[in-house]
């Protein structure tokens, strides 16, 4: 274990990032920012995986990160596509404009 950063600091950072993402998804109204916050949550999980893999000297956690990055890219692609179609229809990219169904 390196002396520069400890596992507690890494996990603390990861939890802070995850919370920022979670709060962002819940409170932001702009769809692009919502998608961005989702990416932040996945990245926080990646950081946790890498830190755990590092202290255990195990590669499985680091391999997981590559797959998560691909999944995150796929997810945001679909998300942006739907946001684009919606903005073409309503002219806005605001979650408040989307209320044809009872929420």
């Amino acid at each position: 274990m390196s002396e520069i950063v400890t596992i507690q600091q890494l996990l603390g950072l990861s939890i802070i990032l995850f919370t920022i993402g979670l709060v962002g998804v819940v409170t932001r109204r702009n769809l692009i920012l919502v998608l961005l916050s989702l990416e932040l949550m996945l990245s926080a999980a990646n950081l946790a995986f890498v830190s755990f893999a590092y202290i255990q000297g195990d590669l499985a956690g680091q391999i997981m990160v590559f797959f998560v990055m691909i999944v995150a890219a796929a997810e945001v692609t679909v998300g942006l596509a739907i946001a684009l179609l919606l903005s073409r229809k309503t002219g806005k990219i605001n979650a408040d404009e989307v209320r044809a169904l009872k929420w």
Binding site: L22, L42, M64, V71, V78
Partner: protein, 478 residues
């Protein structure tokens, strides 16, 4: 020792069909080709003999250095996914006639979702499980928002995507902490570790609870049920049918795998949460279904209620509970599919999915009305139908573990559900139709309805062999 290829035959077969359809879709392009749907359905059918062959061989087999495992539970659930996939494709074929653009990729996406479910059923590693679940989830986001010109479909797709990705992120973060405390992503290693464990590390509890949140979201359980009514209502009807059966079965498969197989020794970490969630879900689903006027929204609340019952079996944490979950899912599969077949047939003709457009269905099509009547009774849990015995087993398993309050809530909710299901039956039979034109249905639709009705009655009357299958399906997880 059989060859590796033999055990992944269902997945290989499904991938072949997917590539075939992809090539045909490219070739036929924008024109609507009638063969596309037929090839997709015909391609699914050989999965039954293949799965049967594998089940006859039996046993639990690990492949690809422990990434992939074929056991009886995986095969049982693959059977459920195949049935729901086929019926969803039958529905998609009917539905496609009403969509104005080419719909080749509509079938393709269904098949990819089924492939993802197959892989998730056989996962023996958290990496594999996460990726297969995402394969299903991302495919479903596209399917839900498939009607590009329909604002409702786009909106429900967006809601599903945002909340679904949120739950995936929670699930993933939970996996990270499980990995951090157990030091492995392999189910086998984690299982061995949890059997030996003397103490319960706080990090593991955190991880299990986050993973649980992800699962409860996919199963649409209180407090993560908020997406279900909107998405069920806005999605194209075949997708709604697939969500309500396939996606739900997948969630409970993952719940059985993770909670029962991996973390049963740590049940004190998750059990009280599940007891509460189960009771709250049963009450919420059944009470909110009463005032609904839209049939798809109505089915959403009813399916939330059923998720609560299924959770009861997981809470019980014994083999009878898990077997009851398998049995109940089997009955729920046929029942819900019959209802969605009828709903699709009627809504495509009338162009409205309000419950009042079903008024006087018995005069317009006695066959459809009777099928819907039987389906609703089975959902409510009336004796000669499949729903009754499943509910009975679930309540029994809760009682056997001493959850008296939960069992009472379950029994009371049956009475509530009888009220709102029978109100729909009243609309079907007693009300006068707005226009009395008979409703036409295609041959494949008719065949599917008859097959599902047979399933409902066989499961309800001749329970023993199916109970034996359900018990066999969970033999490897304890």
């Amino acid at each position: 020792m059989m060859h590796t290829l033999f055990w992944i035959l269902p997945e290989v077969w499904l991938s072949t069909i997917i590539f075939l359809l992809l090539a045909l879709d490219l070739k036929w392009g924008e024109e609507k080709h009638p063969l596309m749907g037929l090839i997709a359905i015909a391609g699914m059918l050989p999965l039954f003999p293949i799965l049967f062959l594998l089940a006859k061989e039996g046993g639990s087999h690990e492949l690809f250095s422990g990434m992939f495992r074929v056991d009886t539970m995986a095969l049982f659930f693959k059977g459920i996914f195949t049935v729901s996939g086929i019926v969803a494709l039958v529905l998609a074929r009917e539905f496609g006639k009403a969509v104005d653009r080419a719909h080749g990729e509509f079938y393709l996406l269904f098949l990819i979702a089924v492939l993802g479910m197959f892989l998730a059923a056989s996962s023996a590693n958290f990496l594999m499980l996460f990726i297969s679940l995402e394969l299903v989830a991302i495919t479903l986001y596209v399917l839900v928002s498939y009607l590009h010109t329909n604002l409702q479909s786009l909106e429900s797709g967006l809601k599903y995507l945002v909340l679904g990705s949120l739950s995936s992120a929670l699930f993933l973060y939970g996996i990270a902490f499980i990995y951090g405390t157990t030091g492995s992503l392999h189910f086998e290693t984690i299982h061995a570790m949890s059997l030996r464990a003397q103490t319960l590390p706080a990090g593991l509890v955190f991880g299990i609870l986050l993973v649980l949140a992800g699962i409860l979201f996919k199963a649409a359980v209180v407090p993560f049920q908020i997406w279900a009514p909107d998405v069920y209502q806005g999605a194209p009807t075949p997708v709604t049918a697939f969500l309500s059966v396939g996606s739900k079965a997948l969630a409970f498969l993952v719940a059985l795998r993770i909670l029962q197989e991996l973390f049963l020794p740590f049940s004190m970490a998750w059990n009280s949460v599940l007891v509460f969630a189960s009771g709250a879900t049963i009450l919420y689903g059944n009470l909110c279904a009463i005032p609904q006027t839209n049939i798809k929204r109505f089915m959403a609340y009813s399916s939330i209620g059923h998720a609560g019952y299924l959770l009861m079996g997981i809470t019980a944490g014994v083999d009878i509970g898990s077997a009851a979950v398998s049995y109940y899912l089997l009955g729920y599969l046929f029942t819900n599919l019959v209802l969605f077949l009828v709903i699709t047939a009627v809504t495509l003709q009338t162009g409205s999915d309000e419950i009042k457009s079903f008024a006087g269905l018995s005069k317009r099509s006695p066959f459809l009305a009777a099928a819907m009547f039987i389906g609703l009774l089975s959902l409510a849990g009336v004796p000669p139908m499949a729903g009754f015995f499943g509910k009975f087993l679930l309540v029994l398993s809760a009682l056997s573990q001493g959850y008296l309050t939960l069992a009472i809530i379950g029994a009371v909710a049956v009475v509530i559900s009888l009220y709102y299901y029978l109100r729909v039956v009243q609309t079907l039979y007693a009300d006068e139709p707005v226009d009395a034109t008979p409703i036409k249905i295609g041959t494949t639709m008719k065949m599917s309805i008859v097959a599902c009705l047979i399933g409902i009655f066989v499961l309800g009357i001749w329970q023993y062999p199916f109970l034996a299958i359900s018990i066999r399906s969970i033999q490897h997880i304890f």
